[in-house]
């Protein structure tokens, strides 16, 4: 009996020892295979995808935002009824039936995209179809709510959310953030077991960027440029507005614009930010700088006179003429040379300054080298190396034989406007984290003093005279405010054959407002206008409209006022102008097309007509049509142009 007990005890002992040994083998001794198995069973890797940061304007208005979208994919192997699925999806997603059906027929492929970046409503509709073999993947989608506004500067992102052009490309790393991976233990249902909840709630989103751009001003500038293109049958137009004290870029426009939400619909030429990437021969807008150089070198005074050779000036075997062949100027003061935009006068001043000093002066103003902006690629323009021939020096004096970017030119004018300081153009004001923490704020940077304050003031006065009644910049003026600026009409270089293109010009205007205390520096250029081509006819009026908008928006106090501008407080300034609408007296249906609802009622005044009004806006059609006999119930159905 005892021995049996001992055997039983020994058997159990061995069993237990075996279990303990197995336990130690499993739990204590290192075993890579088991560790991997355990990891697979108990651990979960959670990937927190970052959301791309918002780009906003100076007032916080969102210009680029990222939202979650849903991309539909299919596993053709699992799709049970491809024909039916293709029919339903093609009508819902607005894609060709054949395209979807072909994708679903290829059973060898286990993953095909049907359509990417759908919104939530569409996702719900597709889910309601209860399709087998289809599913969604969440993807970020970049949306540009203002569509066309600032498109060339903002750029756009690709399907995978990577910045491809403009600020989106240049600040890709900052905006996109970093993907965060958390290794967590999971429970039986696969839910992550959180040790530190904060790890999960702190998303690795990209940083936000606030620009110095004002979206409303940007829109206005883009619209005016487009009007100029339409009016003068031009190829394109561009414009820049800079705050003269801080160097902040308030607007940077390239027209025609494109919709950043659909960048592939447009050519790369339209998508290019020409303000920074293209360089042009600036034409007469550069004359300001030969006068500045001469003032700085104490060679001239505003009333120093130069003989302008009655319109023809021979230098060696070449002849310099005025831009307008009707101009045969004799003696002109320096102010008049600027005001009348005399090529010969400028050439003569340049010869007095000398090539070396003038080149150095242009270099100081930032021409011929990159500004080195931290927000995109830029061209440096062309400023030829010394020695310069007399002819080249004369040409450069009136803006030929040199090429500059619009940004370089507007910053050079900014230096004159602010009293002599060359500033770095500021586009990005702030980079910050929405949840607090990281923040970089950019402040105005003074590069160097390029003019003394008195020289800058003198130049401002001379540029004001360039917008006087008989001067070239007269159409740039705005009522109530003094304007300073200079027109430019440059022949376009023929890049294929060399020399200049026949009949192709760049009409431009650079100036600032109000001239007495400059606030905004504006540069407008219209490329290849075909109907009129002088800067005074094409670019200056655009400047005037934009400047007028800016002073109103800023609420600046007018300086040049007359008695007409002073209003009597009792005067009603809101008198409405009523359009005269002839009364209708006939028996047939009246012609109401194009009238507003108010005008319709006025026209039908006194008649018992039952109106059935649909939509809003102006009348687009009526039933019965105009001239047809009225129905017995005297009822007219009016369809207005804007449907609810």
């Amino acid at each position: 009996m005892k021995s049996r007990i001992l055997i039983l005890f020994f058997a159990f002992f061995c069993l237990w020892m075996g279990l303990i040994a197995k336990g130690i083998y499993l739990q204590v001794l290192p075993n890579q295979r088991l560790e991997e198995k355990q990891k697979k069973q108990f651990e979960k890797i959670v990937t927190l995808k970052p959301r791309r940061g918002v780009i906003s304007d100076r007032n916080g208005k969102e210009l680029a935002v990222t939202i979650t979208s849903f991309s539909l994919f299919a596993d053709p192997f699992l799709v049970t009824n491809p024909k039916w699925a293709a029919q339903k999806l093609s009508s819902l997603l607005n894609i060709r039936y054949q395209t979807v059906y072909k994708k679903l027929l290829n059973k060898k492929r286990r993953f095909v995209w049907i359509k990417r970046q759908l919104n939530k409503e569409l996702k719900q509709k597709i889910l309601a179809l209860k399709l087998v073999g289809f599913n969604f993947i969440e993807e970020p989608k970049r949306v540009y709510p203002s569509e066309n506004v600032l498109s060339q500067v903002l750029g756009f992102v690709g399907n995978e959310g990577q910045g491809l052009e403009g600020l989106e490309h240049f600040y890709d790393e900052v905006l996109s953030g970093k993907t965060k991976q958390l290794q967590l233990r999971k429970d039986a249902r696969g839910r992550p077991l959180l040790i530190n909840g904060q790890l999960f709630s702190e998303f690795p989103d990209g940083l936000q960027i606030q620009l110095s751009i004002d979206a409303n001003t940007q829109f206005y500038l883009e619209r005016e440029l487009q009007h100029a293109i339409d009016k003068h049958d031009a190829d394109s137009a561009l414009g820049v507005i800079v705050d003269s004290d801080s160097g902040e870029i308030v607007a940077m426009a390239n027209s025609p614009v494109y919709n950043s939400n659909h960048p592939t619909h447009y050519s790369s030429q339209i998508r290019k930010n020409r303000v920074m990437l293209d360089s042009y021969e600036p034409g007469s807008t550069l004359k300001t700088f030969i006068v500045s150089a001469a003032l700085k070198e104490n060679i001239i005074k505003p009333n120093t006179k130069f003989f302008c050779e009655n319109g023809e000036y021979q230098i060696g075997d070449r002849v310099i003429r005025e831009a307008d062949t009707r101009h045969n100027f004799g003696w002109l003061t320096v102010s008049e040379i600027l005001a009348q935009s005399s090529n010969i006068g400028s050439a003569k001043i340049a010869q007095k300054v000398g090539a070396e000093k003038y080149r150095k002066f242009l270099e100081d103003f930032g021409f011929g080298k990159k500004i080195d902006v931290p927000y995109g690629s830029e061209s440096k323009g062309i400023l030829q190396e010394l020695p310069w021939s007399t002819h080249l020096l004369s040409n450069i004096a009136f803006g030929h034989g040199i090429s500059v970017t619009p940004l370089q030119l507007v910053m050079a004018y900014t230096a004159i406007a602010n009293g002599g300081w060359l500033l770095k153009p500021l586009l990005v004001k702030k980079i910050y984290n929405e949840m607090g923490g990281e923040e970089i704020e950019y402040t105005p940077v003074k590069v160097r003093r390029v003019l003394t304050e008195s020289d800058a003031s003198m130049l401002k006065l001379m540029l004001m005279s360039a917008t006087a009644k008989e001067a070239t910049g007269f159409s740039a003026r705005i009522k109530g405010f003094p304007v300073a600026g200079k027109t430019g009409t440059a022949q376009k270089v023929d890049l294929l054959k060399g020399g200049y293109q026949k009949g192709a010009y760049l009409a431009s205007f650079a100036g600032f407002v109000p001239a007495n205390a400059p606030k905004y520096v504006i540069y407008i250029a219209v490329d290849n206008p075909r109907k009129e081509y002088y800067g005074s006819q094409v670019a200056a009026p655009v400047f005037s409209k934009v400047a007028s908008y800016l002073v109103r928006k800023e609420g600046l106090q007018p300086v040049l006022i007359s008695d007409i501008d002073l209003i009597n407080e009792s005067l009603d300034t809101h008198k409405s102008k009523k359009k005269v609408v002839s009364e209708w007296l006939g028996d047939n249906t009246p012609d109401l097309k194009g009238l507003t609802l108010r005008e319709v009622l006025r026209k039908l005044n006194g008649r018992k007509i039952d109106l059935d009004i649909r939509g809003s806006g102006r009348v687009s059609s009526t039933w019965p049509e105009a001239g047809e006999k009225l129905p017995g119930n005297n009822k007219i159905r009016i369809q207005l142009s804007f449907e609810e």
């Binding site: 839910r191 992550p192 106090q557 006022i561 501008d565």
Partner: protein
């Protein structure tokens, strides 16, 4: 009395040990429960952020200058101001026609 206390000591000790174990288990369960709650809340936060962004986009689209211009011209039958129609009101009794 002292003897009685000595007799109770093991029971009290076991009681304390059991209480501590209960407390540990309860704390662990509570931590886990809160973990699930944080997970749920963080998902809700993400959802609300998404909704917020959608609203931002909607608002930005509605207030975009081009949209406002389109509505003003087509729906309210306004026409764009021309030169001479714009009046710059500034300061006291000054109104300059632009």
């Amino acid at each position: 009395m002292k003897n009685r206390l000595n007799e109770l000591k093991p029971i009290i000790s076991v009681f304390f040990i059991i209480c501590t174990l209960f407390f540990l288990v309860f704390s662990k369960m509570e931590a886990r429960r809160m973990g699930y709650s944080v997970l749920k809340q963080s998902r809700e936060l993400r959802r609300l952020q998404d909704n917020y962004r959608l609203k931002i986009i909607e608002y930005a689209k509605l207030t975009s200058p081009e949209h406002l211009r389109r509505i003003a011209v087509s729906k309210f039958t306004l026409s764009e101001a021309e030169v001479g129609q714009i009046i710059h009101m500034s300061g006291k009794q000054i109104a300059v026609k632009q």
